[in-house]
């Protein structure tokens, strides 16, 4: 197995290429979504118009957080994600066609069009997300509990934004997971903002991994939106969880290239901020390192990019081609029988 060296221990090239592919897929998926979302919303923006209506929270720039840990997971491990879930879903292997169709509100969607982009559920790979800040953490605790009760070495990963670390559910969940020594990993994506409110105006500590002390568990901090550092920290955290050594908090410094949601006027941040962040694009950086360190040839990478493009394009085509559910289907699926 070829390995790829940085200052730290080795990461296999296969894993790096997988991470590159997933990041590229997420990015290309969202680049398309930026366009699709505006369909029907121009010249006058109307959130309820177009093929993909409702709120749209994109994760462009935040891909490292998702791939750096999901690379260590199997489909038996659980992931819960928040309102900004595409990069996690893609890294966890959620069915891309059904996911896209769901965002288009089609009957072929993951939730038959009932969920929408904030409510993607793919039990085949144990993925879920939701629109209430911090509410997915307890669900991951429950998955971790279920794994432990069934004697499995499965782990559960909850993703949240840094703003969610001030919600009550954060504290209750971590205390419970720690007391019960559950295989839970909480990944906090610090993109500096909760909508318009800066982290420093909302959070009493510099970095949320410090809060691990409140639960007697492990904490780690990843700087610079670095997928490889995320990989390494996550590798340890997942191993600890699988070995019955309890929960970990990981906070990663990451960047939100776009607004909180599409249509956000972003008056709360400096116009120059985003171009500065974009210069640090983690996908380009990983691509460059792979090429420079001869971990992958330009040709190999182009092949990956082509595959990604094809898969995403197909997913959008599938979504567009699918039918809307019959209106009366609104009455189904409240209860199963």
């Amino acid at each position: 197995m070829t390995t790829f060296e940085e200052k730290q221990p080795a990461v296999s090239v296969e894993k790096l290429k997988w991470m590159y592919e997933m990041m590229a897929k997420s990015r290309y998926f969202e680049d398309q979504m930026v366009e699709v979302y505006t369909e029907g919303k121009a010249p006058v923006f109307n959130i309820g118009a177009g093929p993909v209506p409702g709120e749209m929270h994109l994760s462009t720039g935040q891909e490292p957080a998702a791939v750096g840990i999901c690379v260590h997971l199997t489909k038996d491990d659980t992931v819960t994600a928040p309102h900004r879930p595409h990069h996690h879903a893609i890294a966890k292997g959620v069915d891309l066609k059904k996911m896209t169709a769901e965002m288009f509100g089609k009957e072929t969607g993951l939730g038959k069009g009932k969920g929408g982009h904030m409510h993607l559920f793919d039990p085949a790979v144990k993925f879920s997300c939701g629109g209430i800040v911090a509410a997915g953490i307890p669900h991951a605790v429950g998955a971790a509990m279920a794994a432990k009760m069934q004697g499995k070495d499965w782990v559960a990963v909850a993703f949240i934004g840094e703003g969610a670390a001030n919600a009550g559910a954060f504290h209750e969940s971590l205390n419970l997971a720690a007391v019960w020594n559950l295989p839970l990993i909480l990944v906090i994506e610090d993109n500096s903002y909760g909508i318009s409110v800066a982290k420093k105006a909302a959070t009493a500590v510099e970095t949320n991994d410090l809060r691990a002390a409140a639960y007697g568990i492990a904490g780690a901090h990843v700087k610079g939106n670095d997928p490889i550092a995320m990989y390494k920290v996550s590798e340890e955290a997942v191993a600890r969880a699988r070995n019955g050594q309890g929960p970990t908090i990981i906070e990663i410094e990451t960047y939100r290239f776009l607004g909180h949601f599409q249509g956000d006027p972003e008056l709360y941040r400096d116009k120059a901020e985003v171009p500065g962040l974009r210069e640090q694009d983690p996908i380009l950086k990983l691509r460059n390192s792979l090429v420079e360190a001869k971990g992958a040839t330009e040709k190999e990478l182009q092949k990956i990019e082509k595959r990604v493009k094809q898969e995403v394009d197909e997913a959008y085509q599938f979504a567009r081609d699918s039918n809307y559910p019959a209106p009366e289907a609104a009455l189904d699926d409240v209860f199963s029988s």
């Binding site: 659980t78 819960t80 969607g109 993951l110 939730g111 038959k112 069009g113 009932k114 969920g115 409510h119 559920f121 793919d122 039990p123 144990k126 879920s128 939701g130 629109g131 209430i132 509410a135 953490i137 307890p138 669900h139 991951a140 605790v141 429950g142 998955a143 971790a144 509990m145 279920a146 794994a147 009760m149 559960a156 009550g168 559910a169 209750e172 969940s173 205390n175 419970l176 007391v179 019960w180 189904d332 699926d333 409240v334 209860f335 199963s336």
Partner: protein
């Protein structure tokens, strides 16, 4: 059941027996909540389970309702069948997001791809001066928001049978038990809180009201405590020559409209009684159903008796003033008969 050997159980023991039977049958069933282990549940709903099934399947939790109810949701999504206790329904507000945005909606939002086979059980009811934060029933609060089956059994037989149904149901169920009907040694002893309960497993449906007393002159709909009050009032009304039909609603959601409408079609008068707050409450929904679907059968205005729109006061005379009871039902039904 009437002919079987008369094994008498209190409400709480009937519940605990139901859970135990299901835990024996299905290893995926487990119980969690505050003080449900050693203590056996503050209202005895899990009495004896820890001894029988051990700490791995009967989990005392920290005071973290959002975390442990949310964890039950997460475990249910993975195929486990948790029975989770919210000690008093009055505490719903610290965890309502998990109950209402997740437990109730995930099945729907996932287009039926995720199932949440779980039971949230919780104690309701006042009458023992536990004041504004520990005495509510909140039936309509849970009934109003779709996605949950919500039941409120009134006697030991139903407590056992409906709990078994709830655990076996693949949908999320809110199971409300009334403190005063648990038959606990430290509360007022009510005859109706202990009754014959068969030893074997049996189910009682989660969507059927029950006619407790047939009658021809007026329909009285109640639930949990008010059913027993209505039965007492009905006896006294009978002595006055008024033959009341008494219906135990049993299920807050879904509502068994048919049983109510059939009864109104027969009696032509409707009286509804509820321990919950009046406005936007159970009495409103039942009245609306009748005014929509049995309007031409009604011969008099609908009357409803419920907790007036005030929080539940502590002091005995004040609490007795707001709570429904047999006297009030008797009197108000008599008035209704003169309409």
């Amino acid at each position: 059941m009437e002919t079987a050997k008369k094994r008498i159980l209190t409400g709480n023991k009937a519940m605990a027996e139901a859970i135990a039977l299901e835990m024996e049958r299905d290893p995926k069933v487990f119980v969690l909540g505050e003080d449900i282990g050693n203590y056996g549940g503050i209202f005895g709903s899990t009495q004896g389970l820890m001894e029988k099934f051990g700490k791995e399947r009967v989990l005392d939790t920290p005071i973290s309702e959002t975390a442990f109810i949310g964890a039950a949701i997460g475990a249910a999504a993975e195929g486990m069948r948790p029975v989770v206790e919210l000690m008093f329904v009055d505490f719903f507000g610290v965890c309502m997001d998990q109950i209402y945005n997740h437990m109730a909606k995930i099945q729907y939002m996932s287009g039926g791809n995720v199932k949440l086979p779980m039971v949230l059980m919780t104690a309701v009811g006042g009458g023992y001066n536990d004041a504004a934060q520990h005495s509510q029933t909140l039936y309509a609060t849970f009934g109003h928001m779709p996605g949950l089956k919500v039941v409120a059994p009134s006697n030991p037989y139903d407590l056992k049978g409906m709990m078994i149904s709830a655990i076996q149901d693949d949908n999320p169920v809110v199971f409300m038990f009334h403190k005063s009907l648990q038959g606990l040694g430290w509360m007022e002893q009510l005859d109706v809180s202990a009754a014959h309960v068969p030893e074997e497993s049996y189910t009682v449906p989660l969507n059927k009201a029950k006619v407790m007393r047939e009658g021809t002159d007026v329909t009285i709909v109640g639930i949990q405590m008010t059913v027993h009050q209505a039965m007492e009032a009905a006896e006294r009304l009978a002595a006055d020559g008024i033959d009341a039909e008494v219906i135990d609603l049993r299920s807050i959601a879904p509502i068994d409209k048919e049983t109510i409408i059939d009864s109104v079609k027969k009696t032509h008068r409707l009286f509804i009684v509820d321990e919950d707050y009046k406005s936007y409450g159970m009495t409103a929904e039942i009245a609306a159903i009748a005014a929509e679907e049995a309007f031409y059968d009604l011969e008099a205005p609908i009357r409803r008796l419920a907790n007036p729109d005030v929080p539940i006061p502590y002091s005995r005379p004040l609490e007795q003033f707001v709570l429904p009871n047999a006297d009030k039902i008797y009197e108000q039904v008599k008035n209704l008969m003169n309409e």
